[in-house]
Symmetry: C2
Subunit: 486 residues, 2 copies
């Protein structure tokens, strides 16, 4: 099955003057066109409150491409791209905006041959998502001959109740298979490769279970702070910003059963099954299994309350109550201002049942660890014990490595290019389904509820691996975090 | 358990003027001394028919070291080494030689403090092994206060009957635990590492069996011909020169059960169990499972009969009739004048039971292969399927690699250094036991018997991968040889 090229369509970006549009979405559209993945006729219609003229928007877009795009625009590529760029300013609460958009889109259909096909890309504040969807329906923008797809940026809700409400609101106007909820981590090659790695190789699946796996560590660490996002971050925190989405995605891909087919629903069915099997901690249990932290300089950041108790770090232990994973702890963590920027999934296998080598005690010998590195240097490595050369039989742990870039070269499509293309193709495999999102909130909500009852995040030094309590979380289980590569 | 340093001893080399002594044994002794693995007092007594004076032997030895040693002799290292070198010429059929040796060794004990400890190293023609052992006993050279160890070079017999006879002869004078039968492949780090790799890692043993392994290929290929060894080779051939010893060693280490301990007898017990489980083909079955070849220029080599039917290539299929390996074919081959010099063990795993990726058929997807490379570039690699970057889910096979030298540096001890040291330490783990040798002959003898009934080796081009029949051997099973380091 070749997916082929999507139909020509109009991509309507709400929030077109924002950061995400300028850094990711506009470059992604340009690059998809340059690489020939989408038709040259694909049109871009930006909208936002900023009262740009068409010319200003186009000029800014060119600057954005020059600054942020993986592929620099040439005069040719720019000419092709610019000929189908449009901008309409307005307020999404004002029905007049939608009438203007409607009219502009009819012009675009005529001019570009986009046949009424629309990608509605919501890159605004989350509070506007429901309104925009509702207005699109009400003002008749969905009554075209072509297809309609709604792409919704994160965050999708701020807890279970709000996520449910948003799902209800969107699904009043759109069908589930028209809604493409973004978790840009799913656009990364290594994340997609996780399933290929698991299910295209006969040797990993037999040991991918409680009988051979001791524990799993999933780490999403950043070596920088909140920067200019302080105000946003104050209301969000690490739990909602990363744990509820990226960490839960990596968890479900790692732990899921083989899907019956490689399609959006089969894969997402299995991901949801895993999330359903994740044990729900009661808020009181959360004191034992979740740890929050705040880096020392956080309260001095712009937009941050000097008494803030927002967490910039969270570690949690999860249990998956099913046949495959019973008894295997999954340790997940994310933090800002960590020692390094690193995203990885580490499958730690059990120790050998018996060790033959008198010079090395079983406890001294590192168990095998399979590490799927997502960032930086996407790749896979397997640590294993080997003999140290010499007359003694001494064992040392070494690495077997596979480096994605070394084999496939750099310059592969960015996550947003991939995701935009998939949305245009109507393939929702790499997007989050409504039940998936709700399950993920159900898992993390009790942690936040527990925190709201009192206490504060443990402070940690910038450049460290998080608060002391996080170390203790694993020490209590007789384990320790993999800190850094190796 | 640290093995420590062996007692000071006298190493008596029979055949001291030969190639092996000059290329391997003398350098090994020098290097062990330089590296501090053996006492400075270790003495070397060479003997052979060549009527060297002590001075000539010493001068030749220095030249040998300069030419052949991993560590070049310095004035210091040479002075230390040379002060304990001795030479006594003579004929091993003449009891007077042994009396002279006895007397010289008593002097050495006095001068060097070697305390009657002896390594008797038989590096002569095989026909002399029994005589020397007998004479050593008869002439009273074993009646010292110290220990005695007999190191026997290959070939050990030329068929089952002669190997049994030689065992009987040697064991009349020496106990089994005093006999160290050399297979220098066992001195190689990667070969020893095979057991460490299997039994120090919890993730390979669960899939190291018929349920997950499709087949095993063991290759010992050399890209050169017989050179000046034509006369010797004419009487030997690939089956006896490599298959009976090196290939059987690699087979038994690959297929053996975990030993109860890391000691000479526990390990050799399990190796023998595997060899016992290897199905004995009848001579008539051998036509189906064994293929011989001869490279085209072989009959033009010095010392080779122009009508020679000596094989320079052999491939064979073996079956191991036990619970672990039932149904898994082991394909073994060795040849001269092959496309490259390569020794490796390739564990080919089964295909995935079901493939999810529509763009790739199960038959197209290469199964996982674990390759243990012994020569060149000792290391381990694992091929696995990974996603080709891009919007399609396409799978390609890539390698995860571990390179022994990259992690541990070069310049590690050579096989002969290791083996000499082990013999001095009295550890027979890396040497072949009498029953092991006999089992190996029992496996290969029917093949030779079948060949003796008629037919000729298939000829093959120099620089190829052997005769056509070898390809067909695997084609019939729906498989193919891994030719080269793909």
């Amino acid at each position: 099955m070749t997916k082929g090229t999507p139909d020509a369509c109009a991509v309507v970006i709400f929030g077109a003057s924002g950061d995400l549009a300028s850094k990711k979405l506009l470059p992604a559209l340009h690059n998809l066109q340059v690489d020939g993945f989408i038709p040259k006729e694909t049109a871009l219609l930006g909208t936002a409150r900023t009262r740009f003229t068409h010319e200003q928007f186009a000029a800014d877009t060119r600057k954005d491409l020059e600054k942020n795009s993986r592929i620099s625009p040439t005069d040719d590529s720019w000419a092709t791209f610019a000929s189908d760029i449009f901008y309409v300013p307005g307020d999404v609460n004002d029905p007049a905006l939608f009438q203007e958009l409607k009219q502009k889109l009819e012009e675009i259909d005529e001019r570009c041959g986009t046949g009424g096909n629309r990608v509605w890309y919501l890159s605004t504040l989350p509070a506007m998502f429901a309104t925009i969807a509702e207005q699109l329906g009400k003002e008749g923008l969905l009554d075209t001959a072509g297809w309609h797809r709604l792409v919704v940026e994160k965050p999708f809700g701020h807890d279970l109740a709000s996520a449910r409400q948003l799902n209800t609101d969107l699904l009043r106007t759109f069908a589930e298979d028209q809604v493409f909820r973004i978790d840009h981590y799913l656009g990364k090659e290594t994340v997609q490769n996780l399933l290929v790695f698991r299910f295209a190789n006969a040797i990993f699946e037999p040991i991918w279970n409680r009988r051979y796996v001791d524990s799993v560590q999933i780490t999403f660490a950043e070596d920088f702070g909140v920067g200019s996002r302080g105000k946003f971050y104050e209301d969000t925190g690490a739990l909602r910003d990363v744990a509820q989405n990226h960490l839960m995605q990596l968890l479900s891909l790692t732990a899921m059963e083989p899907p019956v087919a490689w399609d959006a629903d089969a894969i997402r069915d299995e991901k949801v099954q895993v999330l359903k099997a994740v044990r729900r901690w009661t808020p009181s249990e959360c004191g034992e299994v979740a740890v929050r932290g705040q880096y020392k300089g956080y309260r001095d950041e712009d937009g941050v309350d000097v008494r803030s108790s927002t967490e910039t770090y969270i570690a949690m232990k999860l249990r998956i109550d099913n046949w495959r994973w019973e008894g295997v702890p999954f340790y997940l963590r994310t933090g800002k201002c960590m020692a390094e920027t690193l995203t990885e999934i580490a499958i730690q296998f059990q120790r050998v049942p018996h060790l033959l080598f008198a010079k090395t005690a079983v406890e001294e010998l590192e168990p095998n660890v399979l590490v799927i590195r997502i960032k930086p240097d996407e790749g896979i490595s397997l640590t294993f014990g080997t003999k140290i050369p010499g007359p003694e039989v001494e064992v040392r742990t070494v690495d077997m490595d596979f480096d994605y870039e070394a084999d496939f070269g750099s310059g592969t499509a960015e996550a947003y290019e991939r995701l935009l293309l998939e949305a245009m193709l109507g393939d929702a495999t790499l997007f989050t389904r409504s039940d998936e999102i709700e399950q993920a909130w159900e898992i993390v909500d009790p942690i936040r509820e527990h925190w709201m009852q009192g206490g504060r995040p443990g402070s940690y030094d910038e450049g460290s691996w998080g608060p002391r309590a996080a170390t203790e979380l694993l020490t209590r289980d007789g384990r320790s975090w993999r800190n850094g590569r190796s």
